[in-house]
Amino acid sequence: MLDFIQQFVSGTALGCVYGLIALGFVLIYKATEVVNFAQGELMMVGGFFVFTFIGLLGLNYWIGFALAVLGMAAFGMVTERLIIRPILGYPQFSIVMATIGLGYFLRSLAGMIWGTDDLKIDTPFSDGVLKIGDLVLAHDKLSVIVATLILCVVLYFFFLKTRMGTAMRATSENMLAAYYMGIPVKTVVSLIWAISAAVACCAGVLLAPITFIHSNVGLALGLKAFPAAVLGGFGSIPGALVGGVIIGVLETMAGFYLAQGWKDVVPYLVLLAVLLLKPAGLFGLQLRKKV
């Protein structure tokens, strides 16, 4: 039983990271119908940002964290402006290729700037453990879960209660109508990229004590986060997080209880099963337009 809880917690922590990356996929997809395959790389760059601020410049963890998130938000906006906006309106295929290319580019660039070694930063959560009876939970894993929960609450209130958040939902539901309302659609899309990149950065920073920072970390996690987003019903924000946690927990459980090799297969088996039974995903929304 203890093993189970322990595995469950580390699976949930991993799943939260998948969920945060998947959230970035979903936000951008909902607003612009672009699937950003460089989402994992945004997380990776976020990790390097925080390494630069904390590891190289020696700033306090929280200040470095905040600077990295702000830096990534700006990075997301610039990416949207330079790479996505000029090709919006072209076939989906070219946009997908552009984001895949962006991913390769960022991976190589990060390797050139920061090298290809595994990097590490000291965080307040690096070593500590929480003991409840015989149960031992590492602080780094718990910090991921708690931070994800806080982030979810903040995003929930932002999207449901603020004017800009409602405008973002409106834009993602009907961009043309958003233009008619006088919503500055271009600014809204820029801000959505900023939020996606900032969320990815949070994932990167939280993951730093668990997996280290290196230039390929985004590729592996991005490929797991994508099925998480599909599982939750591409286009649903809670779905992305739930999908992420499901994939993370299944992967960890399979790694612990089943023979070697199952770890990477089980999440996809579940994904296939869900898509067969419920093609729209767990939280997929479908509402037809009335004529």
Partner: protein, 258 residues
């Protein structure tokens, strides 16, 4: 000054890719009046509205709102100048509630109290929306969505309202109701309205002045009374067939403007 039209479109040409959708259209909307644009499918009615509201940029010509040149301006800046567009086919935000849809209509306004008052005011026009205030707009019936689309546009307190086919897909009774409210909005708030309609009879009875559009050109314009009396309009847009004294009919009647 008040004699100047509030909205003036001069010699506008717009393209969809290589296709010229409107070929030099000029029209004027006098302050406080309702002007209608009639025409068959593909005549370019919607294109004119899109060009005015800034979703489409004209290749040539100018659009003036209260003396300001607004062609090639971004859509959100034009909305800020007091022009609202009710698009063809409603285009409500389906997953947003009725209230949120209305709030989005007032996106550019910062006076919260005024917005709350205006929400009550549009419920005065469309009481049915009030019952549905917290429902997602996608769950409303077609007629209610059209009411919402009009209300949403009014939330901006526009000086000029562009209405694209408000009767589309609605029952005749609902069409009557909607047009009565369009007249009320015009009379009570002094909003100048540019109305595009396929339902020529309804449009001509509602509007003060009318333009007839064919394949991207204005072929006829006059007061609605005269248009209603015109033989061509009666035959080609109102569907009246010609039973003359001789009781016979030419095999094919030509329009006078061809």
């Amino acid at each position: 000054m008040s004699d100047e039209p509030i909205l003036k479109v001069s010699n506008v040409e717009s393209y969809y890719g290589p296709i010229m959708a409107i070929r030099g259209v000029s029209l004027a909307l006098p302050r406080g009046k309702i002007v209608t644009v009639l025409g068959a499918n593909g005549a370019g009615k919607t294109t004119i509205l899109k060009t005015i509201s800034g979703v489409l940029d004209p290749a040539k010509g100018s659009v003036e709102l209260e003396g300001n040149q607004i062609q090639r301006m971004d859509a959100d800046k034009i909305v800020r100048l007091g022009l609202s567009h009710v698009p063809e086919g409603r285009e409500v935000f389906p997953f947003l509630s009725v209230r949120e849809n209305l709030q989005m209509g007032a996106y550019l306004r910062t006076d919260k109290d005024g917005v709350a008052q205006d929400i009550e005011r549009v419920f005065g026009y469309f009481p049915r929306l009030k019952e549905r205030i917290d429902q997602p707009a996608g769950s409303l019936s077609g007629g209610e969505q059209q009411m919402l689309a009009i209300s949403r546009a009014l939330m901006n307190r526009p000086k000029v309202l562009l209405l694209d086919e408000p009767s589309l897909g609605l029952s005749p009774l609902l069409v009557k109701e909607i047009f009565a409210i369009i007249r009320r909005v015009n009379a009570e708030q002094g909003v100048s309205i540019l109305l595009v309609e396929q339902n020529a009879k309804m449009a001509l009875e509602t509007a003060d002045y009318g333009y007839v559009l064919e394949v991207g050109r204005v072929v006829m314009d006059d007061t609605c009374e005269k248009l209603l009396g015109s033989k061509d309009i009666q035959e080609f847009y109102l569907g009246a067939s010609d039973h003359g004294a001789r009781g016979e009919r030419r095999w094919k009647k030509k329009k006078t403007w061809r």
